[in-house]
């Protein structure tokens, strides 16, 4: 029981997030209306994705340092869960955009570059599937993973901040940064980050257990 407490914590925090997310008082700004509440559900998806991709690249580096296949299993599990969260973030974002930006797909730099970054990570998963030799697969995909992470940060974080974008947090729109987020919203937003991230780690541990079981003949 002792090692499961954080899962209960995740459920508790997410319960709070969902209830408070829909009932807390928020400022009504422009065309957003009540849809600003998407902040508590859309943004944490990306936080989960970044967490997973960071775990993934760290374990790829650790794999390359010692060629331990367990690290490769961790990296691939985190990569898969990260893509899953990226797709969720993208899907929730497109729905939100449909009713605030006026179109599901715009030529918005953040939306487009995020799609590119996600495709690079999908290529990582496809690359893994295309090599049947386990050691070769681990090495090549570890190197590709480092390349993908090196592109992820400029594509999704740096470039959208340098150009004009409809998405908050660009050159022309200040965005929901620490200085301009409403204090009421922060009381829900930060627990939301923690709760969703814990949930993603929970999912990640399940996938890791599956991957290790799949390769148990090799690990023995």
């Amino acid at each position: 029981m002792a090692k499961h407490w954080w899962k209960a914590l995740a459920v508790l925090i997410l319960t709070y997030t969902i209830i408070a997310g829909f009932t807390h008082k928020i400022p009504i700004i422009g065309t957003n209306g009540q849809s600003s509440r998407g902040l508590y559900f859309h943004v944490p998806m990306w936080i989960c994705m970044y967490t997973m991709f960071t775990i993934s690249v760290v374990n790829s580096l650790r794999y390359l340092a010692g060629y331990d296949l367990r690290k490769d299993a961790l990296a691939s599990a985190a990569g898969g869960v990260g893509v899953f969260y990226g797709v969720l973030g993208f899907a929730t974002g497109t729905l939100w955009a449909t009713y605030t930006w006026g179109s599901t797909f715009t030529s918005d730099p953040k939306q487009m570059l995020t799609a590119v970054a996600l495709l690079i990570y999908m290529a990582y998963l496809v690359l893994r599937m295309s090599i049947s030799d386990i050691d070769k697969r681990a090495r090549i995909s570890a190197v590709f993973n480092i390349f993908a992470f090196a592109l992820l940060i400029p594509l999704t974080y740096i470039i959208p901040r340098m150009v004009d974008s409809l998405h908050p947090g660009s050159a022309s729109t200040p965005g929901f940064a620490s200085k301009d987020t409403d204090n009421n919203m922060k009381a829900v937003l930060y627990p939301a980050f923690l709760g969703w991230t814990l949930l993603s780690v929970w999912i990640f541990t399940l996938v890791v257990r599956y991957k290790k079981l799949e390769l148990k003949n090799i690990f023995k």
């Binding site: 969902i18 997310g21 829909f22 009504i28 957003n32 209306g33 009540q34 849809s35 509440r37 998407g38 559900f41 859309h42 998806m45 899953f84 797709v87 969720l88 899907a91 929730t92 729905l95 939100w96 449909t98 009713y99 605030t100 006026g102 179109s103 599901t104 797909f105 715009t106 030529s107 487009m112 799609a115 996600l118 495709l119 999908m122 290529a123 998963l125 496809v126 599937m129 999912i203 399940l206 996938v207 599956y210 079981l213 799949e214």
Partner: protein, 79 residues
């Protein structure tokens, strides 16, 4: 099986992005769905967002369960 589904998803996403990247028409259409999402200060957009996340997690669980079943079957054959 998983390979096929996955490559389908990737192709689909690529197609969506490339086809709709320059689709600039404004979504100002009326229609019952659009009216519904815009009603009550757009709160139903967030209900939709939460529903997408929930559906995603359920699909993930189902795929994980299927993978584990396959593993169990393999173990039974090995024995």
């Amino acid at each position: 099986m998983i390979n096929k589904a996955f490559s389908f998803c990737c192709t689909f996403m690529l197609l969506l992005v490339s086809l709709l990247a320059d689709a600039q028409q404004q979504n100002t259409e009326k229609g019952p769905v659009n009216e519904f999402f815009r009603s009550n200060d757009k709160i139903y957009v967030i209900v939709g967002v939460l529903l997408i996340i929930f559906t995603g997690i359920v699909i993930f669980l189902i795929s994980l369960e299927r993978k584990i079943s396959k593993l169990e079957q393999r173990d039974r054959l090995d024995r």
